[in-house]
Amino acid sequence: MRPVGRSDQLVVECSGVTRRYVIGGRGSAGSGSEVLALQDVDLEVPAGLLLALAGPSGSGKSTLLALLGALDRPTSGALRVDGVDVATLGRRERRAFRRRRAVSMLPLPADNLLLDLTGRENVVAAGHHRGLLGDVRSRADELLAEMELDAFADRPCALMSGGEQQRIALAASLIGSSAVVLADEPTGALDRAGAATVAAALRGAVERGASIVVATHDPNIEAVADMVVRLDHGRRVL
């Protein structure tokens, strides 16, 4: 059964996606071993949903997010994000794709921010990085207000808690017109309270129209997700 989103448009379409790695040395040493990170994964995600990718460590969640975010390429299978065949893009096109269409959030909050800048400056910088024109600062202020982050928006990010940093990072991900936000373990490094606020922020963002795919172990996020997909040993099991 296909879950119902806010529109009939599919933001993610995967068909038979497989990703195979060779690790531990390549070529000359001949000691590399092959790892099958994803096997024949099919997935369709309508726009406007919060999708939780769940599963144990090593199940392929982060690999799938990397493929969706054009940070990696599948070994085989078809993969479309926002209508773009991501699997066939060249390096330069993938870079442009990341700038315009899919935003990836890294697991550690601090990795998603320029820590010397304030929260507001980070959101504005993210807008500039995505090539937004016009009054980026006003758009950032609106976003921060919508996400109730304006209270600490002028604080340097280095002085924020992990939860605050991750919420600012989410705001920075939402500025612009990206089709989908791909968050890898956004609450993995947070305490329970921090994780709860981030989960709420993700839910809020989806309510305001964003499409978000989250790789997570966190029951808080699974609880607010519109759809949960489980992976195990690289295969989709739910």
Binding site: G25, S28, A29, S31, L71, R91, R94, R99, H129
Partner: protein
């Protein structure tokens, strides 16, 4: 402010790399200039000031000619005030009735600057009043030759000239400054005949012979040091002055003036060329090393800022934009560092260079080089950060270019090394022919460094799979050692990179040392073989050397003879004393010099036995009987070769040589060239010989004999090679620092866990020392082997004077080799300290979370 400080701290490696690059780039420019100035200084000291100076004749019969000549001369820069010379050639009636052609001379200081010791000069009254009109002063020898003494009179035409003084003979080695422009009146002729007769006279006396008078104005280069550029300016000014003179007096004197300065400049230019050409491989290798350092520093910078780089990469920001974000602070650091590098190079060359006098143009070039380095550094950082940014997050590309480009680079370097060896074998290194410098092809000269580079990379290519096969070894080692060993073999990349950098550092340093020491030793060996001993004095007399000087001396006679129509040099030595003054390198013969002399000894008066001789030449063999045809002698001298040697002290030409007992030579040759050889002579040795009545000709001193040639430039040329070794040591340190920094997080996390299992600080130290020591030791041994092998192949082919014995010979620089081997454990402990400190310094919890 804290942010800025942190960002600038991250740029310190870049700054250091730029400083190093600017130091090398500008330092070589300054060093070449310094060598040029030193060469000028040396050449001017060697040459007579009159020869390097300039003299214009004062035309006869032209009113006011002298002021015009002076005005022309005054336009020449760097000159002392003009000196005025006056001479006239007269035929004088001697007291005994005979006639003598005599040149009357008037020039500054002729009476006082005779080179005689002051006491003797005072006794002869040479420091006294000027001569009055009609009075003459003659040297003792000239007085004897003319049969005059003080008070004697000479009649020239209708004028009577009185010998007012007899002054000591003018010194000949060297000719004193006042007389060096008139050396034809001082030095004996090559045949041993005395120079033409001359007498010092007052200007009024010379003027009496107006129709035979020749006046000139002489300009000498001021005693201050001058640069090669200034010398060239002087030379150009001389030529302008000649043209001005010709125009002013409607004469053509250009062809009559021998510009000694041209020879001085040629020689100095030869030295500069030698240094400059020798520096080409150093420049190239420094460039490679510095680029490696720069790239390592740029990678380090990218690592330091990896969060920022990765975030921007994830957001799809183009790599060029990522790099551009870092450019302002990189420009600031690179600018400051290049300025410091320039100043440092300036200071080092001023203090340690051959001369502290640097040309303004060289300073400008050095500044431009430093500026270029800063710009290149910014480009390198820009490129490195761009590449790192592009590959920091995107795993979807093809293999990293470096994976497939490395074998191509290695293959290219092997081809380059083989090619450069072939060129070196074909054309040799820098060849010096007097002042001329030939050869010095970058490709040929670069062989030791190209060979080392190629050998290192090939060896490291083989090490990569070897390290991979060793991953599971070390299981029986104690825990701490096992950890250290496993870290060595865990990842081939960092280990092999460290081995490569250390090998290059050790190899370059030992190669530089072997080449540099080798060049100095070659100079000493060749100079000693050329001179025959420490000092060789050509004399024209047969008397014995006085007993006070005889210790450590030996008489040698030489003559050119013919064997089967081919000229051969006959060398007569005193077997009893020759081994005390000469040395023979052990590769010349299986016998010692004393053993060879023993073969010559007792040869005279052995009935009909042929005199024994030693052959020096490739075609001569023991047992040969040679008929030596001597000019002016009806009978050839027949000798039997009892030994042959590859070279012999005093062998200065490519001619074959036959060495015999000097008694044999003296019995057969009527007019040999006579030499006194001296080992460790006192400073006054030549003066002592002169005082004993010897007429002195050429004086050869092994310490200075090559100073007038560009050969001496080699002494300076190889010195900067050591900098290459230091540079690669910095590369090695940079690589190790990169490895330590890269493994910091994993090491901290591992230590946080393992210390709970009793793995204390001591174990950590043992593991760290093992981790640091293994690649250092392997790299040092590899580099030493390759460096010494490359230099051993290069040295015989780099011989700058292959025709001059003895041939260049490679010797292992044991001091440097042992020094490098001793430095390895010290370096390992220092690296281990860095590892331990960086491991225990972090917050355990943050380390476990991967945040540190």
């Amino acid at each position: 402010m804290r942010g800025l400080q942190r960002r600038l701290t991250g740029l310190l490696p870049v700054g250091f790399a730029v400083l190093l690059a600017a130091f090398c780039a500008s330092g070589t420019e300054l060093y070449v200039s310094s060598s040029g100035s030193a060469a000028m200084e040396q050449q001017l000291a060697e040459a007579c000031r009159a020869d390097s100076g300039f003299a214009l004749p004062v035309p006869r019969g032209v009113d006011g000619a002298e002021p015009i000549v002076e005005e022309i001369g005054s336009r020449i820069p760097h000159m002392d005030p003009p000196r005025h010379g006056d001479s006239a050639m007269v035929t004088a009636q001697r007291p005994d009735g005979g006639s003598a052609r005599l040149t009357l001379l008037q020039f500054d200081d002729l009476l006082t600057d005779t080179g005689a010791d002051p006491a003797g000069a005072a006794a002869a009254g040479t420091a006294a009043e000027p001569l009055a009109p009609g009075e003459l002063a003659v040297t003792a020898t000239n007085a004897e030759l003319m049969g005059v003494q003080v008070g004697s009179t000479l009649v020239a035409g209708d004028r009577v000239l009185t010998i007012a003084r007899v002054i000591p003979d003018i010194a000949t080695a060297p000719v004193p400054s006042a007389w060096c422009g008139l050396s034809q009146f001082v030095l004996p002729r090559p045949s041993g005949d005395p120079p033409p007769l001359s007498a010092v006279a007052a200007t009024e006396t010379v003027a009496m012979f107006g129709e035979f008078r020749f006046r000139w104005v002489e300009y000498r280069v001021a005693d201050d040091p001058i640069t090669l550029t200034e010398a060239n300016d002087i030379l150009a000014a001389y030529r302008r002055a000649i043209a001005d003179f010709d125009a002013a007096f409607d004469q053509q004197i250009g062809g009559d003036i021998d510009l000694g300065m041209r020879h001085v400049v040629d020689r100095a230019t030869g030295v500069t060329d030698t240094v400059s050409r020798s520096l080409q491989p150093v420049r190239l290798t420094s460039l490679i090393a510095v680029l490696v350092v720069l790239l390592a520093a740029a990678v380090l910078l990218a690592r330091e800022r990896h969060r920022e780089v990765r975030l921007l990469g994830v957001r799809g920001v183009p790599p060029s934009q990522v790099a551009r974000r870092m450019l302002p602070e990189v420009a600031l650091v690179a600018g400051v560092a290049s300025a410091v590098g320039l100043l440092l190079a300036w200071m080092v060359v001023l203090i340690g260079g051959p001369s502290s006098l640097l040309e303004p143009a060289a300073l400008l070039r050095a500044a431009l080089m430093a500026l270029a380095v800063a710009v290149v550094a910014m480009g390198a950082v820009f490129a490195a950060v761009s590449v790192v940014a592009d590959h920091a997050v995107d795993r979807g590309g093809r293999h990293h270019p470096i994976v497939w480009s490395l074998p191509v680079v290695v293959a290219g370097l092997v081809v380059l090394a083989v090619w450069s060896f072939r060129r070196l074998d074909e054309v040799g290194g820098i060849r010096t022919y007097g002042t001329q410098v030939r050869g010095g092809e970058l490709l040929a000269l670069g062989f030791p460094l190209f060979g080392l580079l190629a050998g290192t990379l090939v060896a490291c290519g083989l090490l990569v799979p070897l390290v991979a096969t060793l991953r599971r070894t070390g299981g029986r080692l104690p825990r701490a050692l096992r950890l250290g060993w496993r870290r060595v073999v865990l990842e081939a990349g960092p280990t092999v990179a460290t081995v490569a950098a250390v090998a290059m550092a050790a190899g370059a340093f030992v190669a530089a040392s072997a080449l540099s020491d080798g060049a100095s030793r070659q100079l000493e060996d060749k100079a000693e073989a050329f001179v025959g001993s420490d000092l060789a004095v050509s004399v024209f007399d047969t008397m014995d050397v006085p007993a006070s000087l005889a210790g450590g001396t030996s008489r040698v006679e030489t003559a050119n003879v013919k064997v089967d129509g081919t000229t051969v040099k006959l060398y007569g030595v005193d077997p009893a004393t020759f081994p005390d003054v000469a040395r023979l390198r052990d590769d010349a013969s299986s016998l010692s010099l004393r053993g060879l002399m023993h073969l010559l000894g007792g040869s005279v008066g052995r009935g009909d036995d042929l005199p024994p001789a030693i052959g020096v030449g490739p075609d001569l063999t023991v047992g040969d009987v040679l008929d030596l045809v001597i000019a002016g002698s009806d009978e050839p001298l027949r000798v039997r070769l009892v030994a042959t040697v590859a070279f012999f002290p005093g062998k200065v030409t490519g001619l074959d040589e036959v060495v015999v007992d000097r008694e044999v030579l003296l019995a057969a040759v009527r007019f040999p060239q006579r030499w006194v050889l001296a080992r460790d002579p006192d400073d006054g040795f030549v003066g002592g010989l002169r005082a004993a009545g010897f007429r002195i000709g050429v004086v050869l001193d092994s310490r200075t004999t090559f100073d007038a040639s560009s050969f001496s430039g080699l002494k300076w040329a190889y010195q900067p090679l050591r900098a290459v070794g230091v540079l690669f040591a910095v590369v090695a340190a940079a690589v190790q620092f990169l490895v330590v920094a890269a493994r910091r997080t994993a090491r901290r996390a591992a230590h946080t866990i393992s210390r709970r299992t009793g793995f204390g600080r001591r174990h950590l130290w043992v593991a760290a020392v093992a981790e640091a020591l293994v690649p250092l030791a392997v790299g040092a041994l590899l580099g030493l082997s390759l460096g010494l092998a490359a230099v051993s192949l290069a040295v015989p082919r780099l011989d700058p004077m292959p025709l001059l014995a003895p041939p260049a010979r490679f010797l292992v620089p044991w001091g440097t080799t042992l020094g490098i081997l001793l430095a390895v454990p010290v370096w390992a402990v220092a690296t281990a300290a860095l590892i331990v400190r960086s491991t225990v310094a972090g917050d355990p919890m943050r380390a476990l979370r991967g945040e540190q």
